[in-house]
Symmetry: C2
Subunit: 460 residues, 2 copies
C-alpha cells in the first residue's frame, strides 16, 4: 500500500462540513459520492444535523464508527485547524482540505495554526492535500471531490492520462473540456497550496500507478525544485510527463506570485531542467492535449524520418514545412518501395516525399501506399493526410486504414480537415486508436515530442 | 463594371462539358446552379445530348442564344483548347477552366496549345481562371463551381471574409470546415495554374469588393512577385490580407515545385516582403481562422496595452505569458480606476494585471470590472477570461458582457474553455459579434496581429 492510496482508493470517508443545502460545497462533494454509488463507507460530519442526504451524520470525525481512510474538509477556513486536529486524533490516513483562506489570501496566522496541527499528523503518518484546492477525481474508483456541480463541470470518462494541476480553475476548465471531447482521464489532482503533498509526491505516485500511461502537469513553480526534478527524472524513465509551465515571462512570473505565491523562475532555467529530466515541454494548452493523445496511442518511433502521404498537395506542403521546422527529417523511400509504388499507382502520382496520391486517389490507392510505406525500413513515422471531400474516398478508407494500422510498429498520425462527413470519419479512426489531428503544426509538433522523448530515453 | 465581375456575378453561364451522369464533374457543377435557383441563364453545352438536367443543351457554346458572360469548362484536358477557341469566337467575357492535365502534370504541348487560344481571347478582353482549379464560390450571388458534391463538401453560409487558395484541396477542406463551424464566407476562389488571372488580380478585385471585409490567402509562390506585392500593398491599405505561405522551408519548397510548379522562395524574403506590404502573416491554419475572426469583429486598437480580466488565476498567468511573448504590453490601470475597483470589489480580488476577480466572481463583478477597465485610457485592448464552471456565473454574464461590448471602441477577446455549458455561452457571445477563443496563445497572437496591422497603417 502506498501512503497516498487513501486519497484515490479509500474504504471509508468522512465529509467534514457535509451540508444539507443544495449548491453548497459541502453538499456537492457528498452528493458526488452518493450519485456515483461509491463502494466505501460515507460518514457526513456536521454537529448541527442528525442526517445529511439520508446518511447518518456525526458531530465529529472522532465519533465515526470504525477507521477513516480519508477526510474531506469543506468547513470555513478558520474552523479548519480544529477539525484537522480531530482527524489527527482519529488517525485518519489522508486529509484533503478543500477550504480556502490561508496563505493564498495572505492569512499567515491561520496558516501557521493549520501547520502546527498538520505536523502532529505527519508524525504519525497522516498525509494532507491542500488547502485551497479541488482535490481528487478518480474515474476508476469514483472518488470525486470536485465541488463544482456536474451541470457546470462535466466529468470525463475513464482514460489513461492523469492530470496534476497547480491551478484549480484551469484544471476544472480542462476536465470540463475533456468530458466534452470524450477523451477520458484516469486521475485528476488539484493540490492547491501544497502544505504537505506537492507536485513531486503526486508525480511519484502516478509514476507507480498502473492505470496512468501518461502524466499531464500544469505547473507555476515547483515547491521544492530539486525534489521535483529528481522525481520527474525517475518517473519520465517509465512514462511520459507532459508539462505546461505558467510564468515563463517576467510579467507572467509576477502573475504567478499573485496567484499561487510560487516563484516562477527564469524560462531558460526551467527549459533546461525540463530537458534534463526528460519532461515533455508543451508550449500551449493545444500542445498539451495533442501530446497526451499521441503519447498514449502511438508506438515508440525508431528515428525521426517521417514519410508524408497525401491526397492534397497544399496540405503536403504545409506538413513538410511543419515537420522541418520541428527538427524532423523527410524519409527517403528505398528504391524497392519506389518501384513497387510506381508499378501500383497511376503515372500522375508524385513519388516523392510528400507522396502525393493526388485528388483522385481512392480507398485502394491509399491502402497500398500506406502498406508499402509502413514496411520501408527508411521510414520511422508516417503523417497520413486524408482529405475526405473527394468522392473517391469513403468509409472503406477508414476501415482499410484501421486494419493496416492495427498492430503498427511505427507512429502514424492522420491529418484531416473538414465538415460533418470528414469529422465522422476522423472520429471512427480515433475509435480505432489512431491519432488524428486537424492541423499540420500540431501533427508535426506531436511527432517531434514523441521522437524527442524516446530519443532521450535511448529508445528512438 | 470590373473585368472580373463576370466570374462572380454573371447573367448567363455556359456549362461546357455539362453531364447527365450523377457524380461527374460536369453534372455536379450544373446541379449546383439549379439547386441554388441561380437567377441568370444556364446553357448546358454537350454535343451528345438534347437536354441535360431538364435544361436545353447546345452542341457548342457558339449556339447558345444571346450573350454568354461566363463559361465553365469541365471537358477532358485534350478537348479544352478547342472549346476555349469557341468561347473566344462567342466573345464570352470570362472562362473558368476546371479541367486538369496541363503543366501541373508536365503536359507542356497541351499547355502551349491552350495558351495560344487564350491569347486570342485576351486580346478581345476575355479573361481566364485556371486550368486545374475549383473555380469560384460566391455566397451572395450563389455562383458555385465546386465539383465536390455538397454531401462531401459543405458550403459555408454568407460571411464577410473572402478566401483565395492556390491549392484546391486545401481550399475545399477549409470551406468544408468553415461550413461546419458556421463562420460563413463571402467569396472563394481556387485559381489553379493561373495562366491568366493570378493571386494579384484576385487581391485587387477583392480589395474593391464591398462584400469583403478581410481577405485570406493560401499562397505557395506568387506568379509575379513584384505585381503581387505592389497590389497587396495597395489592398492592405484598405482591408487586411491574412496570408499563410506554403514552402517556407527548403524541403517545403521542393514540395511546392512538385505541387503547383511555383518557386517558393526563401522564408526571410517572403517575411520581409509580407511585412512591407502589411500582409498579416499567419504561421498556421489555426492562426488564419483566429485572425480572420478577430479582424472582422474587433475595432481598431489605439495601442498595444492589454488588460487581462479573469476568474481563474492559472489562465491569467498563461495569458500574460502569451501576451508578452507576442510583444504586447500589460496595461497599467490608472489610479482612479484602481480606486473604483477597490471600492466596488471584495478585498480578495487581485487589483493588478491580470485583474483576478477570483473563483467566486459573479455576473455583476465581471460586469463592473469590464466597464471600469473599458473606460480607462491606459487600456487599449482587453482579454476577458470567463470560466463558466463556477456556479456564480450564468447566462446573465453573457447578456451583460454583450451589452457592455455592443458599441465597444476597443478590441475585446473573450477566452473561455470548457464543456457543453461553457460552449453554449461562448456561442451566444459569438452571436453578439464578440470574438471568443479557447486558448491563451491564439487570443494573444490575434491581438498582436490586429495591433501590428493597424500600427503599420498608422492607425494604432
Amino acid at each position: 500500500m502506498h501512503a497516498l492510496d487513501c486519497f484515490f482508493n479509500p474504504q471509508s470517508i468522512a465529509f467534514i462540513g457535509a451540508s444539507r443545502e443544495p449548491g453548497k460545497v459541502g453538499y456537492v462533494v457528498l452528493q458526488n459520492f452518493i450519485r456515483n454509488r461509491f463502494k466505501g463507507k460515507l460518514y457526513p460530519v456536521n454537529p448541527n444535523a442528525q442526517t445529511i442526504q439520508s446518511l447518518q451524520s456525526y458531530p465529529s470525525v472522532k465519533k465515526a464508527p470504525g477507521e477513516v481512510d480519508l477526510a474531506i474538509i469543506t468547513v470555513p477556513g478558520p474552523a479548519v485547524p480544529q477539525v484537522v486536529s480531530e482527524c489527527v486524533a482519529k488517525k485518519v490516513k489522508g486529509v484533503c482540505i478543500i477550504s480556502a483562506g490561508f496563505s493564498e489570501v495572505g492569512n499567515e496566522v491561520l496558516t501557521k495554526q493549520l501547520q502546527r496541527e498538520m505536523e502532529k499528523g505527519l508524525k504519525q503518518g497522516t498525509r494532507f492535500i491542500g488547502p485551497n484546492c479541488l482535490g481528487v477525481l478518480d474515474t476508476q474508483t469514483k472518488v470525486d471531490m470536485l465541488f463544482l456541480p456536474q451541470e457546470r463541470l462535466g466529468r470525463p470518462g475513464k482514460g489513461v492520462v492523469s492530470f496534476i494541476s497547480q491551478s484549480g480553475a484551469l484544471g476544472s476548465a480542462i476536465l470540463d473540456w475533456d468530458a466534452l471531447k470524450g477523451y477520458g482521464i484516469n486521475k485528476f489532482v488539484s493540490y492547491g497550496n501544497a502544505m504537505d503533498i506537492d507536485e513531486a509526491d503526486l508525480l511519484e505516485y502516478l509514476g507507480e500507478d498502473p492505470g496512468t500511461k501518461a502524466i499531464v502537469l500544469y505547473l507555476e513553480g515547483a515547491k521544492q525544485g530539486r525534489k521535483f526534478f529528481e522525481t520527474a527524472k525517475k518517473v519520465s524513465a517509465k512514462k511520459p510527463i507532459i508539462a505546461i509551465k505558467g510564468g515563463v515571462t517576467e510579467q507572467g512570473g509576477h502573475a504567478v506570485t499573485s496567484h499561487t505565491g510560487s516563484l516562477a523562475g527564469a524560462k531558460e532555467v526551467y527549459e533546461a531542467a525540463f530537458r534534463q529530466a526528460n519532461i515533455v515541454y508543451a508550449h500551449s494548452m493545444e500542445e498539451v492535449f495533442a501530446f497526451a493523445r499521441t503519447f498514449t496511442t502511438e508506438p515508440v518511433p525508431k528515428g525521426k524520418r517521417v514519410q508524408v502521404i497525401t491526397n492534397g498537395g497544399g496540405y503536403g506542403v504545409l506538413a513538410t514545412d511543419a515537420l522541418i521546422q520541428n527538427g524532423l527529417e523527410l524519409a527517403q523511400l528505398n528504391p524497392k518501395t519506389l518501384k513497387e509504388l510506381q508499378q501500383g499507382m497511376p503515372s500522375h502520382v508524385v513519388l516523392k516525399n510528400p507522396l502525393d496520391l493526388t485528388g483522385d486517389a481512392d480507398n485502394m490507392r491509399f491502402k497500398r501506399a500506406l502498406e508499402m510505406v509502413l514496411q520501408d525500413a527508411n521510414v520511422d513515422m508516417v503523417l497520413l493526410i486524408m482529405l475526405f471531400q473527394v468522392p473517391t474516398l469513403n468509409e472503406l478508407a477508414v476501415r482499410m486504414t484501421s486494419t493496416a494500422l492495427r498492430e503498427r510498429k511505427k507512429p502514424v498520425i492522420v491529418l484531416s480537415v473538414g465538415g460533418k462527413y470528414a469529422e465522422s470519419h476522423k472520429m471512427a479512426l480515433e475509435q480505432s486508436s489512431i491519432t488524428t489531428f486537424s492541423s499540420p503544426s500540431e501533427s508535426a509538433s506531436s511527432l517531434r515530442a514523441l521522437y524527442e522523448y524516446y530519443a532521450r530515453r535511448g529508445k528512438a
